[in-house]
């Protein structure tokens, strides 16, 4: 793998006395889609929340190990800076209810008090909404509140909001599990288009989705990294028996 | 730099929180400190002394304790059938719909009318009526007195016990009621033997909260109770409650012992009201956890 954009080394995460992640080491290649899959409770959501340092916001949470973005250790940086470099989209679409679509898209700038000219903001809004394939649908009503959109549109708005910050990595935590099949396929299409500009780490419990959309897949089970490799290889000739059992539906 | 704004903000939150606790402590301490002269002078006699005579310097608070007890309990007694009826009607018979929300809003309105207006109305409408009643009964027709105060008070506390009781009654599990119905019980029997016993502690908490409200009520009582500082002989006697004697005499209390005695009454009032309210809220909290 040429210089990976993200490297996780010997990472552990705890909630109080429970150890959620056990000695995870993983490298993510640039501009690809990497799926993280596994049964409920395997730690996949915790893993991505450790990447953008949201995990530590919960009381009783601890983490140890190193995560390098390019060559900087994320855990020696200010977490706020980390979160501006790594974007996140959540399972349930959560546009800010008091803000318009326009303001939602550039919320990352507005809330942080980063001042920009109106023209600059307009450009960012248009670019981000185009990248998330929402521009055509909302162009005329950017001033309306974000909560008036459908579920799938709201999720694309959240993606635009994250993209507006120009992150290197986009974390998607089960982004389609609250959406209907049509909206889901829109988002999956979008993921394929986005990977040219940003590296995508996708958490999903939907095995078929991981197979459709990702270039690389990591399989987590009970907090351990069981297997990691190119998707077509992992899905057709898995090396570990547990991977095979998960893929054939024996558990999870 | 960010870190500093962050800590200032969190500091502000903690400060505001601490301020609430400090405020309460300061209230108690202030009352205690200012009651000390009176406590030192009279000790426990304060509580059972029958004479309240600022001129001679005797301060016995028993008349007011009795006045408070009588008016509050009488008010609760009078209001109970009404609050219970409202609670049962809204919680069991007619839970939703136009009439139900009309009634609920009307009860809330009752709670929103300022106390001085209750007193005003009481003085001009209720007191003459009571005077007429007293004449018929052959009692001295003061009009004002414990009875008048209790009636006004009962009207004022209805919303408090009613709304809590209603909530508790509406939360009685449907399957319990259905079991009773399936055994052939009438509505009345279900209400009396299943719903009310189940909601018993919630209703009791509502009564306690209403009691807390009644104990502390000042203006309406002051205006119709007759401002008399001797032991009440009957429910038609003019009297004073702890709250009303403070309202009536505080501005005239120029010398230390007088003022201190009034403050001590205030402290007593606060302590009793607090205990009643805490018990009531405790029961509610236990109820919600169980349900």
């Amino acid at each position: 793998m040429e210089s990976p954009v993200l490297r996780i080394e010997n990472f552990n995460a705890h909630f109080g006395d429970n150890q959620i992640l056990k000695d995870i080491s993983l490298s993510f290649p640039r501009n690809k889609v990497i799926a993280i899959m596994g049964p409920s409770g395997c730690g996949k959501t915790t893993l991505v929340r450790c990447i953008n340092r949201m995990h530590e916001l919960t009381a009783g949470a601890r983490a140890s190990g190193r995560i390098y973005l390019d060559d900087e250790n994320l855990y020696s940086m200010n977490p706020i800076v980390v979160r501006r470099k790594i974007g996140m989209v959540f399972q349930k679409p959560n546009p800010f209810p008091t803000m318009s679509i326009y303001d939602n898209t550039v919320a990352g700038y507005k809330l942080n008090g980063i001042r920009m000219g109106r023209g600059e903001l307009d450009r960012i809004v248009e670019e981000s909404l185009k990248k998330s394939a929402l521009w055509e649908e909302v162009n005329g009503s950017l001033h309306r509140k974000g909560t008036f959109l459908s579920g799938g549109q709201q999720q694309r708005l959240c993606i635009a909001r994250a993209l507006a910050m120009n992150p290197e990595i986009l974390l998607l935590d089960e982004p389609t599990s609250a959406l209907d099949p049509k909206a889901t396929s829109h988002i999956e299409e979008l993921i394929g288009e986005l990977k040219d500009t940003v590296t995508i780490i996708l958490v999903t419990h939907n095995i078929a989705q991981a197979a459709r959309v990702s270039d690389y897949t990591a399989f987590l089970f009970l907090g351990e990294l069981i297997e990691y490799g190119p998707t077509d290889k992992l899905f057709t000739v898995p090396e570990d028996k547990r991977t095979e059992e998960y893929l054939t539906g024996k558990f999870g | 730099m960010q870190g500093r704004s962050e800590s200032i903000f969190r500091g502000g939150l903690n400060l505001a929180a601490a301020a609430m606790v400090v405020l309460l402590l300061a209230v108690f301490v202030t009352l205690l400190v200012n009651s000390l002269p009176s406590m030192k002078e009279m000790g426990w006699r304060f509580l059972y002394g029958r004479t309240w005579d600022p001129v001679s310097g005797t301060f016995g608070a028993l008349p007011f304790l009795l006045g408070t007890l009588l008016t509050s309990f009488l008010a609760l007694l009078i209001s109970l059938p009404f609050s219970l009826s409202i609670a049962i009607f809204l919680g069991e018979y007619l839970k939703g719909g136009f009439i139900s929300s009309l009634l609920r809003n009307a009860i809330e309105l009752l709670a929103g009318i300022p106390s001085v207006i209750y007193g005003f109305w009481g003085l001009f409408v209720l007191v003459p009526l009571i005077r007429g009643l007293e004449m018929k009964l052959g009692v001295t027709p003061y009009g004002v007195g414990i009875f008048a105060a209790s009636v006004i008070l009962s009207i004022m506390v209805i919303p408090f016990s009613a709304s809590l009781a209603r909530e508790v009654i509406s939360l009685v599990p449907a399957d319990l009621k259905e079991a009773a119905y399936s055994l052939g019980a009438t509505r009345l029997e279900v209400v009396w033997k299943v719903v009310l016993p189940y909601a018993r502690s919630g209703i009791f908490a509502g009564i306690l909260l209403a009691l807390g409200r009644a104990l502390g009520e000042t203006m309406a009582v002051t205006m119709v109770i007759g401002n008399a500082n001797f032991l009440p002989k009957s429910i038609f006697s003019p009297s004073n409650t702890m709250a009303s004697v403070i309202a009536n005499e505080f501005t005239e209390a120029t010398e230390t012992l007088y003022l201190s005695s009034l403050v001590e009454i205030g402290l007593l009032l606060l302590v009793v009201t607090t205990i009643v309210n805490i018990i009531g809220k405790y029961i509610i909290r236990k109820q919600t956890v169980e349900v």
Binding site: M54, I80, K85, N94 | L13, L103, T218, M219, T251
Partner: protein, 282 residues
């Protein structure tokens, strides 16, 4: 079971329902009586002159309640200035720090303060301020009213913010927005309607309060804008005039009662409208 027994129970059932309904209607009877009486007695006194003139000494015709109106407004403003910032911050604290010693103590303090009789709060304001300063003042009255507003503001702020879904905070934090900005710019605005409703409700409550003002604001026959002097308020005026022996003052008091009731009811309605219209959808 015999037929007679069943019929007896059914009759009891219907009569019970009847008794309940009658008692319910009787309960709202006082409300209607009071409101009708106030309207009847008061509405004839209320005109523009009434609202803009000062009270006159007894015997002179045509007084007004202008100083009481201004006084009430001034007292409300002072009370809000004292209680709203502290109350909201304490409410935010409680919604963010659910557990812990301080949170428990704050909740306890709020409960006790809420149940404190208003006359006791008047005593406190007297002992803290009036004695120190040496005179009655609008300031002491405003403080007393502010203390009464605090518990309601803290509670409604906490309850409103608790209802805001957790993922909203997460969305903001994930964008790299620091915690304090997340609270101030995302969470509090989302809960603004509930917070404002709480403020309006507590204002409605203190607008009608008399007891804490008896020996703090004290009342005054003059117009007064100086917060360090005694000041009149609507409830105080009503109390003083109602308990006086003069008939002209009685009718002034009825007029003032009418104005006060209208004001309090309007505020309550407004608060409810704010809660419904302005509610933010998640």
């Amino acid at each position: 079971m015999s037929q007679v027994g069943v019929t007896g129970r059914v009759i009891k059932d219907y009569s019970f329902r009847g008794v309940i309904i009658v008692l319910c209607l009787l309960s709202i009877l006082p409300l209607l009586l009071i409101l009708i009486y106030i309207v009847k007695q008061g509405i004839s006194s209320v005109n523009w002159g009434f609202l803009t003139r000062l009270p006159r000494p007894v015997g002179e015709a045509g007084g007004g309640i202008s100083n009481a109106l201004i006084g009430s407004i001034l007292l409300i403003v002072i009370a809000c200035l004292c209680s709203v910032p502290v109350g909201i911050f304490a409410g935010v604290y409680l919604s963010e720090y659910r557990r812990g010693r301080l949170a428990y103590l704050v909740r306890l303090s709020v409960e006790v303060l809420q149940g404190t009789p208003s006359i006791v709060i008047g005593i406190i304001a007297y002992l803290w301020i009036v004695i120190r300063v040496g005179s009655f003042s609008a300031f002491s009255g405003g403080i007393a009213l502010g203390i009464m507003m605090l518990p309601v503001i803290v509670k409604t702020t906490e309850e409103t913010l608790r209802l805001i879904p957790h993922h909203l905070k997460e969305a903001s934090l994930a964008l790299g927005v620091p915690y304090y900005k997340t609270i101030l710019k995302v969470i509090v605005p989302a809960g603004l309607s509930g917070i404002i409703t709480g403020i309006l409700i507590s204002v409605a409550r203190i607008a009608g309060e008399t007891a804490p003002l008896l020996f703090t604001a004290f009342g005054s026959p003059f117009m007064n804008f100086n917060v360090f002097k005694p000041i009149n308020s609507l409830p105080l005026l009503i109390f003083n005039y109602a308990t006086s022996p003069y008939a002209e003052w009685h009718s002034l008091a009825w007029g003032a009662s009418f104005v006060l009731v209208v004001f309090v009811l309007a505020l309550n309605l407004f608060a409810r409208m704010v809660a419904r219209r302005w509610k933010v959808q998640f």
